[in-house]
Symmetry: C2
Subunit: 257 residues, 2 copies
């Protein structure tokens, strides 16, 4: 039997609408095992749980599909899948998402969806994080389903050298408005934030984060932000090595003086 085995996770929780869409895509390509967080884990980045135990429960089982909920982060879900639940089995693909909201530009660093996708790429199979640029609970996943399926098919049918991790973002809107796929680099730009400060009912001050992304590179056609605002699906190849090689010599001069 050589049916494919596809592992799924996300950061919005095992019962989110984005997970439902991702399950539908994945089942077209093989057997599906999901381990996803019990509760939403947005903004959890590459966080994992070292100092406390994790609880896992099976929440759904039917032909070709098992779904587990885990009391941890998205990265914990990947580790539990590969190092415990599926450790005797060959996994062909990791999919993380479909996230409610974009993970383009620096959002990659904060994203639990992409933390899990990067972690998945450490286990000898391709790994794809998928996000829809629409935060709304009633977001329309139609275009994300169509383009997500197209990208999954391309990756499965044309194996590329490993490790392979892709950050895929799909613009909000109807499928016919999407102009195609662009392979992109991460745009520069930052979240500009402020804290709302209020008093709780017990008289204690609390701070609550708000903010918006400021794109520093509006005209840069090679960036994910440009692709998304111009109606393209963005695909960014992602690496785990964060060394800034362009600055090695400068730093050697600084510390050798």
């Amino acid at each position: 039997m050589n049916e494919r085995l596809i592992f799924l996770t996300n950061d919005d929780g095992f019962d989110s609408r984005g997970m439902e869409a991702l399950i539908d895509i994945a089942r077209r390509f093989g057997r599906v095992v999901v381990v996803a967080p019990e509760r939403p884990q947005s903004g959890m980045s590459h966080a994992f749980t070292m100092l406390s135990p994790l609880f896992i429960r099976k929440v759904r089982e039917e032909e070709g599909l098992e779904v587990y909920a885990l009391s941890g982060t998205p990265v914990d879900c990947v580790k539990v899948a590969f190092d415990y639940l599926l450790r005797e089995r060959k996994v062909d693909l990791v999919l993380s998402g479909i996230n409610h909201g974009s993970n383009s530009a620096v959002a990659l660093l904060y994203s639990g969806t992409m933390g899990a996708a990067i972690e998945g790429s450490f286990y000898d199979c391709p790994s794809i994080g998928l996000s829809l640029t629409d935060h709304r609970p009633d977001a329309d996943f139609t275009a994300a389903r169509i383009w997500g399926e197209r990208i999954v098919r391309d990756v499965l049918e044309h194996p590329a050298p490993l490790p392979l991790c892709l950050n895929v973002n799909i613009p909000a809107g109807a499928p016919e408005t999407i102009r195609g796929i662009r392979v992109c680099r991460q745009a520069q730009g930052l979240w500009r934030e402020q804290f709302v400060c209020r008093q709780d009912p017990h008289g204690r001050d609390y701070l609550w984060l708000t903010g918006e992304f400021v794109n520093d590179e509006h005209g840069a056609e090679e960036t994910d932000e440009w692709a998304l605002t111009h109606g393209y699906v963005s695909v960014q190849p992602v690496q785990a090595d964060q060394t800034d090689y362009r600055r090695m010599e400068e730093m050697r001069r600084l510390f050798d003086r």
Copy 2:
């Protein structure tokens, strides 16, 4: 008055021994403000808090030093400092650490210390994460204090272009055993993990992560792992852009077919 202002955080908590060592270093160079987690936050990576409020309290104040404890992640501490507490003031340097345990190789991705250091580099000042390759509660910080001070002085006295983020690891051992500083890239290699599965007193199964780092590049003299095992302080210049530029053309061919 142009005394320097230095912002400090960590992931082991405001009252850790590594923070005490870092405060001692930083006070030699200017006024110091600390915002650090109430509780240990190891493995929190670049996680931040979006969906719940944060509470902050001042825990110490003396001439040239203020220490605050925050109910959030290391990255939350940086955001609260720059976007709330210090938003009217010019900060000259961010220091994160001194971590109990190495943040070399892929540990960079999981590290709350380095999550905070990268976040600090987004705010127009140099940012340095410092870690000691010794997890033990009674670890000797003497060498880390000496080499940490040396690196902070170099960065302050010889300003480099921004953004600048450095991942500094200091080998365990006596100061006289350290052979110098090496500017390094992140070694390849992964944590190989397993889960211990037990039953809690209420009969529920739980999973608890264990593991060890496996270095795939033992002979590679340009890596941080090589430097640390050969008695050098490793300094890695870090970037927020995780695009794998070497694979852009390959991916264009894959998705353009």
